[in-house]
């Protein structure tokens, strides 16, 4: 019997641990988070261990990702945003790598769990709030007051406030829902192949060539998922940049 398409998101404890009434087991999710962190840091350490003036393959990949993220911060948050480069770069590499690792057959997608994406989002939002209040003091609340005619402010200020408050939800749910939807779609289509193949074996042999069609669809959708995996990491990082840039500049340059 084919497994449910949602089974891949199930968290299973590998090493059961209980601490003070809380379940802190080492699960398959923890395992894949460790793998992702080790892969990213191992790659960056190896790539930058023997730097050359003319970079090799590894070093140019590392330099490419560095310049990609720094260019992204520069265009959205300006030069002052570069102080947040380590955080944005870490988030981008973590999200992108876990999205890509999730596409490996048999792996676990870390970013398809809302607790992970929500934790990353809270990191960004808390950075925005702390940065804003440290830089502007109470003047950070001007973020909610755009430049507009006075009467319009009665509508715009609540709107800006609601938009600010829903950011944690939209940022985390966007990444989580994209990963969840994509992987569910892949597994549902894989179910089509198996169902058609099973029917062909047991009774209707003429159906066998037909199962090539959902198989081809899986290949195409996997290609789309690779794009989405990169794109969602990019969108997550660039929105974090935009939010931090707003906290730095308020509405000055917009």
């Amino acid at each position: 019997m084919a497994a449910s398409p949602m089974e891949q998101f199930e968290i299973r404890p590998l090493i059961p641990l209980h601490l003070g009434g809380y379940d802190v087991s080492f699960t398959n999710q923890s395992l894949w988070m460790c793998i992702v962190v080790l892969a990213v840091s191992g790659f960056m350490i190896v790539a930058t261990s023997r730097p050359r003036l003319v970079p090799g393959r590894m070093q140019s990949m590392a330099e490419l990702s560095y310049e990609f993220v720094s260019g992204m911060i520069n265009t959205t948050a300006g030069d002052e945003g570069l102080r947040f480069f380590p955080m944005i770069f870490t988030i981008f590499m973590f999200v992108a790598t876990s999205n890509f690792f999730g596409l490996l057959p048999g792996s676990f997608t870390v970013t398809s769990q809302i607790c992970v994406t929500l934790a990353l989002t809270m990191l960004v939002i808390l950075t925005v709030i702390v940065t804003g209040f440290l830089r502007h003091g109470i003047g950070f609340l001007k973020l909610f007051v755009p430049k507009a005619p006075f009467l319009m402010l009665f509508i715009l200020v609540p709107l800006e406030f609601i938009s600010f408050c829903t950011r944690p939800m939209s940022l985390s749910v966007r990444l989580f829902a994209n990963m969840l939807a994509g992987h569910t779609m892949l597994k549902v289509m894989a179910g089509f192949v198996i169902a058609l193949g099973a029917t062909a074996i047991t009774s209707k042999a003429y159906l066998a060539p037909l199962s090539i069609a959902p198989m081809a669809l899986i290949v195409a959708v996997t290609g789309l998922e690779i794009l989405v995996a990169f794109l969602q990491a990019y969108v997550f990082a660039i929105l974090a940049c935009i939010y931090i840039g707003e906290a730095i500049h308020l509405h000055d340059n917009h």
């Binding site: 749910v173 994209n178 969840l180 794109l231």
Partner: protein, 79 residues
């Protein structure tokens, strides 16, 4: 008055079906994003490369709006 549990399940499933209408909006949005990008880049091909990241950003933001509808469907079905 107690509500029949099967009615609640039926209502949840109808609601989950209705919430997939969100994808119509996502489809329209993605069409607008790509259509305007192409018409803009045919008018001014020199600027098209600089706006490519904005195109991808707009695409991902639009797609996410549809997926929020999917979230509501999943919440209705699995809680």
């Amino acid at each position: 008055m107690a509500i029949d549990p099967t009615m609640i399940i039926a209502a949840k499933q109808i609601g989950a079906g209705i919430s997939t209408i969100a994808f119509a909006g996502a489809g329209i949005g993605i069409g607008v994003v790509f259509g305007n990008y192409i018409s803009g880049s045919l008018r001014n091909p020199g600027a098209s490369q600089t706006q490519y990241t904005n195109l991808l950003l707009g695409f991902a933001l639009c797609e996410a709006q549809g997926l929020f509808g999917l979230m509501i469907a999943l919440i209705l079905l699995y809680t």
